[in-house]
Symmetry: C2
Subunit: 308 residues, 2 copies
C-alpha cells in the first residue's frame, strides 16, 4: 500500500479541505473543517484533531497550507512574496514553523504593482497558479495570460513561467451584490449564457466600453421596460455586461492577444470562455480545484528540493 | 391673504411631500405622507385626507403630482414622454383624471435612446429639469449638460431648453452596496472629499479609465494593505473612484466641454463639483428640492396655458 508522505490543506475564509497525500501527491484520504473565519485562534487544534488520525505512530506528517490561513485573520501571517516570482520562489518564501511536533509550511500570498500602477495582492490563487503550471507545462513558455474568475477575480501575466504581475477585478462581487440587492434583475431567473439577453449584455459592454460599466448597468432595467429583454433573463444580461467589462478591461491592460487560460470551476470557465470568444480570444480551462491540489503538491516538492 | 390655487406633490417610492401653493407657486402650507411603496392601492385616500383640510368649501383644489406615483407601482401609470421634449411637452403628456371631484395631473417620466444606443428612462427627474430651467433661465440657451446625482444618477443633454437625451448611471447604488456589504471599506469613517484618499481615488479613475472601474475597485483594499491609504479614509477613496468613473464616462459620452449644472443636495453638489474640477470642467449647483418644487409650479402653469 502507498505510504502517506504529507498533508495538503486548502484553508480559506469559510472552509478547510485537507488531503492526505503520498510522495507523488496522490490523495489517500480527505477531511474537511471550518474556515479561518470560524477557526480563528484554534487553527492549531483544528488541524491537529484531523491530522492525528493520519499520522504514523509518534511521527506527525508535515503539512502545507494555503489560502487565508496565512492572512491576518488566519493562523499566522505569511507575508506576501513580491512579484516577479517563480513557483520555487513562492515555496522559498513559505512561513515555516512547528506546531505540536508537526512541521507546518504556510504558502505566502503574492503582491505586485499591477498594470494600473497601484499595489495589488492575492492569497490562495498563487497556489492555483503553481498548480496550473504543473498541469499545463506549456504555460512555462513565453507570455501567458491567466484568468482566475471569482468574487475578486485575478488576471495574471506569466513570462516563461514567472508571475510578472496581476490585476484584481471585482466582477464576481459586483454581480453578486447587484443581483441580490438591486432592482435591476429583480424577479429574474438564474443567469445563463444560453439566454439571448446574455449575448446582448456582452455586446453592449464590448461596443460601449468607453462609456464605462457604471453607465451601462441601468440598461438591465430600462431594456426590460422597453421590452428589449425579458425580465426572466435580466440576471443573464447583467452577467454578460459585467463579465464583458471585466474582459475588455483586462485585454486593454495586458495587451496580450494570445489565448487565455481560465483556472476555475467548469461553470465559470464556460461563462468567461463564451465572453472571450466574442472578443476573438481563444480560451482553455484548467479545473480550479485540481489546480489548487496540484499547486500544494508542487510547492511541497519545491520545499523538499530546498533541502527539507 | 394670498389665495390657495393648487396642490403640488413630490411623491416618490418612500415619501410624499405636498405643498399648498398660491397662483405664483409660493408655498402656503406643507404636509407629508407615505411613499407609493406603502400607499399602494390607497393613493387616492392618502391624498384626499391631506388635501381636504386645504380645500375651500365644496371646491377641491387641483393637484399636480410627480415621481413614482406615475409608475406601475404607483397610483396610475403615466406613460413616458419620448425625447426630445420641452417642458411644455411634458405638461401636455401629463396623465389627467378626476378623483373624488379633484382634478389630478400626474407628470410623465421621460424615455429616450441614450448616447450608448439603448433605451433609458427617468421618472421624477424630469420635474427637476423643468424646475432647473425655471430657476436658471440661461439653461434655455445652447447646449447644456445637467447632472442629477443619486442612486441612479442622470446625465442630461439640453439643446435650447429641450431635453435631447440622457444617460443613467448606477454610481450611487454601486457606492452604497460596496460600502455596506463589501470588505473594501470595512472599518472606514464616512466618506469625505477632505480626505487625501478621496483625491487619490479620483486621480486613479481619471488616469486609468481604459482599465474600467471593475479593475480599479479592489485597489480600495490593496492600497490599505500597502499603507498607501488609511483604513479610516477607505470610503472616501471608494467614493472618489466611483464618482470619477461616473464623470469620465459622462464626459466621453456627451462630449460637452462646457460647464455642468448639478441638480441635487448641496452635499452631492460639493462631491461632484470637486470631481468635475479635477477634469477641468466648471460646475454650478441648483438645489434639487427647489428644482423639484419649481418644476411642479412650472408644469402646473404650462397645464393652465394649455387651457385648463
Amino acid at each position: 500500500m502507498t505510504q502517506a508522505r504529507f498533508i495538503a490543506g486548502d484553508w480559506g475564509t469559510s472552509r478547510l479541505r485537507l488531503f492526505l497525500c503520498d510522495a507523488a501527491g496522490a490523495v489517500l484520504a480527505r477531511a474537511e473543517g471550518p474556515g479561518v473565519a470560524q477557526a480563528g485562534d484554534v487553527c492549531a487544534r483544528v488541524l491537529a484533531e484531523r491530522a492525528e488520525a493520519w499520522d504514523p505512530a509518534g511521527a506527525p506528517l508535515p503539512a502545507i497550507l494555503s489560502g487565508m490561513v496565512g492572512s491576518t485573520i488566519g493562523w499566522r501571517e505569511a507575508p506576501y512574496a513580491a512579484c516577479p516570482v517563480r513557483a520555487s520562489d513562492i515555496a522559498r518564501a513559505a512561513l515555516r514553523f512547528e506546531s505540536e511536533g508537526r512541521a507546518i509550511a504556510i504558502v505566502p500570498g503574492l503582491s505586485c504593482r499591477n498594470p494600473s500602477g497601484v499595489p495589488d495582492v492575492m492569497r490562495g490563487e498563487e497556489t492555483q497558479i503553481a498548480g496550473a503550471l504543473r498541469l499545463g507545462p506549456e504555460l512555462e513558455q513565453g507570455r501567458q495570460l491567466l484568468c482566475l474568475p471569482g468574487t475578486h477575480a485575478k488576471w495574471v501575466l506569466l513570462e516563461d513561467g514567472k508571475v510578472i504581475h496581476f490585476q484584481s477585478t471585482l466582477s464576481g462581487e459586483v454581480f453578486d451584490l447587484l443581483s441580490r440587492h438591486s432592482v435591476l434583475a429583480r424577479g429574474s431567473e438564474a443567469g445563463s449564457t444560453d439566454h439571448p439577453a446574455f449575448a446582448a449584455g456582452v455586446a453592449l459592454a464590448k461596443t460601449q466600453s468607453q462609456a464605462g460599466l457604471l453607465h451601462l448597468l441601468f440598461s438591465t432595467r430600462s431594456r426590460q421596460l422597453a421590452g428589449e429583454i425579458p425580465k426572466a433573463e435580466a440576471a443573464s444580461y447583467l452577467s454578460g455586461l459585467i463579465v464583458s467589462a471585466d474582459v475588455a478591461g483586462a485585454l486593454a491592460l495586458f495587451q496580450a492577444p494570445g489565448p487565455v487560460t481560465l483556472v476555475c470551476t467548469p461553470a465559470l470557465g464556460a461563462l468567461y470562455g463564451r465572453v472571450l470568444q466574442e472578443y476573438a480570444v481563444p480560451a482553455r480551462l484548467i479545473d480550479g480545484d485540481k489546480a489548487a491540489h496540484a499547486g500544494l503538491v508542487a510547492l511541497f516538492a519545491s520545499l523538499e528540493d530546498l533541502g527539507e
